[in-house]
Subunit: 195 residues, 2 copies
DNA sequence: CCTCTTGTGTACTCATCGGTACATAATATG
DNA sequence: CATATTATGTACCGATGAGTACACAAGAGG
């Protein structure tokens, strides 16, 4: 049984709300008053529950990976490399054009406007982007073994290409591109796919 | 003859230095102490010469368009749509991997971590990105008239695609991708080009 | 030489940033 | 009921943000 006064808010819901703020504003752009207001709690409660703004951000990143960016993991389960690529692009478009979501990619948006303080945040985000790319590369390596990618394809190049297009799509969404326009981008990008 | 005490610094050089800081840190991430230090002047001189941080940023954007992003205008002069696309991708790679430059694209990086204050900056950057895309689209429309793009190609889609890849490349560069890796991305992207 | 104009440098303003001290409220355990 | 423990809310902290007032310096025109 938990001792002491019980927490009066739902910590998962609060984290979700914080994620939205970080997603919209980036790490440094999200201020504590904004965060606490969106989370419906006050400052000391935030610090008691999450430790600090930076720890809160890292937990929000984890939640992002499980939730809005979950399509990335799901895509890995597609049967062929081409299906993986299609699913990655479609998933990106779906997320960045969903009206309930901020436009753009948290891993891209979050990194900027970093004072020296947030240099560690910048590295963290770059590391997470690279980890995603590495997972895709590994999936494409398997695809070559499976025979659904030509043996002379370079899985690292293909992974980098797909990730670049995904990130480009995210930026375009932030510039105001709509779903249909982004689907055309994805379709064009897939014309380059080896077969 | 100019009246009063003469300015003791080169205003163009100072603007160049400011551009570098904005490029590296974004609009809000660039602080006045950083800016004045890089520019070699003190705060009142900055305000006297440029008006405000926001006006300084806008002037830095103009300089960016003429300087580091000048390849965009040059690319429009290429004889065919494909050559334009190649030049755009190559130019992007050149700029974002030049060791003398910050990594990434000012128009993408600058927008982030915007408090409400800087919402106008955000819009300005989105507008400039869209203006660049529109210029590319117009060039591709001409290419169709010239016959060096198939008549059933959609210039808007192609422009959006190329811009997306350019922006993706810029993000990848910020993640640490090197020139050779980005050239592979560009080569892959061009496999999708209509012929 | 005096004055007018413009640039420079120091030292300030006020707002806001992330983070916290402290008093109080709410629960579990004894 | 008493006490230990944890959460909440107010009100603060020092640091730093953008922007500026003001005294002084350097030139031009008279």
């Amino acid at each position: 049984m938990p001792r002491g006064r019980p927490r009066e808010f739902d910590i998962d819901q609060a984290l979700d709300r914080a994620l939205r703020v970080f997603w919209r504003k980036g790490y440094e752009g999200a201020t504590l008053p904004e965060l606490t207001r969106a989370m419906g709690i006050n400052r000391p409660s935030l610090y008691a529950a999450f430790g600090s703004k930076e720890e809160l951000f890292r937990q929000a990143l984890d939640r992002y990976a499980e939730g809005p960016a979950g399509y990335l993991g799901e895509a890995m389960g597609e049967p062929t490399a081409r299906a993986v690529a299609e699913r990655l692009l479609d998933g990106t478009i779906e997320v960045v054009t969903d009206r309930r979501n901020p436009r753009g990619c948290l891993l891209v948006q979050g990194a900027l406007a970093c004072g020296e303080t947030a240099e560690s945040i910048r590295r963290e985000l770059a590391a997470r982007r690279l980890a995603g790319e590495a997972a895709i590369r590994k999936r494409f390596e398997r695809a070559i073994a499976d025979g659904d990618l030509p043996g002379d394809s370079d899985p690292a190049d293909l992974a980098r290409y797909i990730v670049a297009v995904m990130q480009g799509i995210a930026v375009q969404a932030a510039s105001g591109a709509n779903r249909a326009e982004l689907r055309q981008v994805a379709a064009l990008a897939l014309r380059a796919w080896p077969n």
